[in-house]
Subunit: 340 residues, 2 copies
Amino acid sequence: MRDVAALAGVSIKTVSRVVNGEPRVSADTVNRVQAAADQLQFFPDAAAASLARGSRETRTVALLIASVGNPFSSAIFQGVEEVASKRQVAVFAASTEGDTSTEEGLIRAFLSRRVDGFIITPTPENHASIAQLIGANLPSVYVDREPIGVKADVVTANNRVAARVATKHLLRYGHRRIALLADEQQISTATDRGFGYEDALTQAGVAIDPALEVYGIATVKDAEQAMERLLGLASPPTAVFASRNMAAIGAIRVLQRHGLSHRVALIGFDDIDTSDLVDPPMSVMRQDPVAIGKLAAECLFARISGDDSPPKRYEVPAVLVVRGSGEIPPQDARLGQING
Amino acid sequence: MRDVAALAGVSIKTVSRVVNGEPRVSADTVNRVQAAADQLQFFPDAAAASLARGSRETRTVALLIASVGNPFSSAIFQGVEEVASKRQVAVFAASTEGDTSTEEGLIRAFLSRRVDGFIITPTPENHASIAQLIGANLPSVYVDREPIGVKADVVTANNRVAARVATKHLLRYGHRRIALLADEQQISTATDRGFGYEDALTQAGVAIDPALEVYGIATVKDAEQAMERLLGLASPPTAVFASRNMAAIGAIRVLQRHGLSHRVALIGFDDIDTSDLVDPPMSVMRQDPVAIGKLAAECLFARISGDDSPPKRYEVPAVLVVRGSGEIPPQDARLGQING
DNA sequence: TTGAAAGCGCTAACAC
DNA sequence: GTGTTAGCGCTTTCAA
């Protein structure tokens, strides 16, 4: 900046004025300064500016998600980015991989980088401690999962209702033995979907069979193992509610392997590009992670702008998409019934 | 920091020493300072430190990809993150959406934020101008696509060879009318795959039919339209090489719609979680975007650390995954031949 | 082992 | 319209 000032023959402050587009600078000066800045490939140092301004605003936010490579997480990122980029805010996205100490380390790193706020998919544990780490001065919004004991905005899918809708759909087709595949029970998303599933069964007068409820599905492999086990039951399920992407993929893989994919009904959560190409085409509760991300970002920017109303909970509705796999009527699915 | 110093009863410099873990501070002082820092929830300001240090290192890099929500791009991000997080480097990821002016704006924004380097999937045009924008002082690495007229490291898949392998595979099954679906011809990735496709045909003595080569597939919809058109030809293709994810999805959708998915062979690029669940299971050239991202990040950090050897080109091999869709023998695929 | 002074690149407040 | 001075939070150099 000093160099630009020297080259343009003005003071350093005038360069600052031009760079920030302040009024009351003569057109001639503006031109001279801009020419000098271009020639020197000058880019203002945003960090130094923020430091000097005293506002400590960096126009940067941090997004902590399960994994940047996971389609659901990255759809959230996409939503956040859409909103942030309109405001010229840059986004640090990072993966917690579900690990609390990684999460803490990331928060520390971003705190040092003076982000303006956080959007967080909380890991299963330790919610209070990360909230305390962030402190009260920095706004944060939680997405996808509800942190316990933390006062902050939360944006999730309407998990309980959506799970109820999916389960009712299967019940309507006559199913009575419906399996549930879900994430760890420490995660609100999983338990809420479990509640919705149980709501529907109870309302239909169907007894809840704990043997059909499998929690702790974290990978496709987990889902495959669970599905194998379910099919091995004396009285296997005739339908499956796979309450997350990976669970559905694993379940279908196993059903296909046993030639049962057209005999056991299945409804997934999380729509994906290829859901309609699967054999049979997959019925799903389609949640809208991009909308979740957008809403979370909007909340966060409202907070950053000074909104100090009480924390709110937002639910983005998931919709049932009927494609075939969820409309298969109950059939005997005991292993060995087909192909000997 | 001043407050911490006051509370601990030491000078500001001593706090700095403790925070940076410098030696030659008495254990007692360290404890007092740390207690004060904890009590005050003190986090050092990384930007101010970088400013004072004069090295201008921010331990931050920028990643410009097509779209953060796109599975291929986010897999690259995942690879970059894996390497960066080990070095405590934060990543700004942002979407260009293939738009040159967006790309330029992002580069300017990150230049102002004083990132240590760039990893870029270049938009179709304007390579030289973005390189000039970044200037010679900041290292940058290009991924997935080769920028023209830019001297920098490049990491891509072995596009030409992989396309040759895929096409040869189809030729081996007896196909002679093989369609190519590819991205815009301004993108090196698309043209390289096109060259590989043509290499294989030429080597097999099969004439290249321009009517079977479709470039400019940017969306699933584009792919669907192209596939419809191809099926409407007097002599339609008996096989398809869909050289990108979206092209494969659109093509399969149309083939399924016409009941031709078991009559027309198809090989995709980019493996996805559900490739094996599709009807029929999709054969693909599986590229490894996570590895591409990792390699790019490693290159970038080497450059940041001062490596000034001549720019290199790296190719990460893609492997053929045989699942069924690519092993269908040639059959009449004229519309209306099936089901009247 | 600790502290004082100077300055990184920039902007606020105030002159002129 | 433009320049001067002080200082943001920190680290460097040098002195104690």
